[in-house]
Amino acid sequence: MIQFFNVNKIYEAEVRVEALKDVNLQIENGEFIFLVGPSGAGKSTLTKLIIREETASSGQVLSDGKSLARMKQRDIPFYRRRIGFVFQDFRLLMTRTVYENVAFAAEAVEMTTTEVRQRVPLVLDMMGIADKRNAYPHQLSGGQQQRLGIARAMVNNPTMIIADEPTGNLDPETSAEIMRIFQAINRRGTTVLIATHDKDMVNLMRKRVIALKEGRIVRDERNGGYQHEA
C-alpha cells in the first residue's frame, strides 16, 4: 500500500517549480489506477516519489506504512525490487538481445545464474515474445519492444508495476494490446499504476482515475473516465 499525505514537491532548478501541491492519495494492493493530466501536471514526479527516485519536499510518502524519506540508503534497492518500472521510450539496451535485456535486470537484482535461466524465459513467454529471444530490439515492432520493457519490469516478480506513459510512442491498436497485458498482470494480483494522457484508453477501461492538474489532484474517481472535470 502506498500513501501520500500532504505531499509537496518543489524542484529548485534555474526556476522554482512546484511540481506537486498538497497531494493526498492512497493506493491499495492489487489496484489498477490511471494517473492522468496534461503534460507538466506532475504525473512523472508522482511516480518518481513512489520509486524513491525523488523525495517529497514536504509531507510524507509511505509504503506499507513506512516513510520513504526516512528509508535508509542501502534499503532503497531492495525496496525498488518490489516495483517494476516501465518507460515511455522503453529504455532497452540496443546492443543486447531480447533475452539479454531481461537477463540484465535479473542479474542486477542478483538472481543466481540458475534463477536467471528459469525466470527470463518465463516472463518472455508471459509477454508473448519468447520466439524473439535472440532478436535485437531494433528488429522488434514498437509493441514488442514495450512488451520487452514490461518483461524486464516483471522479471523480479514485483508487487507493483508503474508505467510512465507506456503507450506514448505507440499507435492505438498496439496501445490497446499493451493495456490488455497490464490488465492481465493486474488480474494476477499485481498493483498497476499507469501515467498517461491517452483519453480513449482511459475512458474505455473504466478503472480508477486520478487526475492531476498543475500539481494538484483535481479528481480521484472509481471507474472513472478521462474527459469530464470533477
Partner: protein
Amino acid sequence: MRLSSLGYVARDGFRNIWRNKIMSIASISTVAISLFLLGCVWLFVANVNNMVFNVESELEINAYVEQDLPRETAQALASDIGAYDGVASVEFIPKEEGILMLENRFGTEADLAGTVGENNPLPDMIQLKATNPDLVPVLAEKLTAMEGIDQVRYGQGMVEKLLKTADWLERAGFIGLICISIAAIFLISTSIRVTVFARRDEITIMRLVGATNWYIRWPFLIEGMLTGFFGALLAVAILVLGYNKLVISLMTNMSFIPIMTDQATLLLLGRNILLYGAGLGIVGSFLSVFRYLRV
C-alpha cells in the same frame, strides 16, 4: 552484494575494458611504459648494490690475456706478476673455468659451458690482489703495458661513481614514481569516466530495477584494477625478458661486469610492480566511481 554475483561483476569489468578499447589501450600502455621505466631504474640501482657487494675488495684486479696467447705463456705471465712488489696473491683462471664461474653466477639451470662448447668467447684471466688499494692503479698500469695482456679491469673509482649515480637515480626514481602514479591514476580515472558515461543507460536501468550501489560500482572498480594490472603485466614481461637477454649478452661479451642474476629478486620486483599497477588502477577507478557514478 551476494557472493553469487561475483561472476556478473567480474564479467562486466572485463566487458568494460573491451567496450572502451581505445581508452583502455591508452591507459594500459601508459601504465606499462611508466612501470617499465621505473623497473629499469630499480634494476640499475639493485645492480650497483649487488656489484658493491660482489667486488669483495677494492684490491682486486682482473687482467685479461690476449686470446691467441699460448696457455703456458699465460701461466708464466701469471707467476711473473705474482713476484711483483705489492701483489698479495695471484690466480690464473683459464677460460674453461671462467665460463663455469659465469654459469654459477647465472643460476643452476643455464648450461653455458655446454652451449658455447669449443667457441668459448671468454679470454683467460689473471686475477690478482694488491696489498694496498693505493697500489691498484699503479699495478694496473704496469699490467696494461705488459706483452700478452689485453685488458685490465679494476673496481676502484668506478664503484664510487656508480654508487653516486645509483643514489641520485634512486631519488629521481622516487620523484618519478610520484609523477608517474599521479599521471596513471588520472588516466585510468578518465578512462573509467568514459565507460561510466557510455553505460549511463544501463546504470539507470540497474538503479531502477534495484541493483545495490556496490553491484553497480564493482565492474568499474574491476575495470580500473585490471587496467593497472595489465599495464603492469606488460611492463614486467618486457622487463624480465629484456633483462635476461641483457644478462646473457653481458656475460658472454663483458663478463667483467658483475650483473645481478638472482631470479628471486627479479620475481620480487615483478610481483611488486604487478601489485603497484593494480593499486594504481583501484585508486584511479575509485576516484571516478565516487565522483561520476551517481548511484
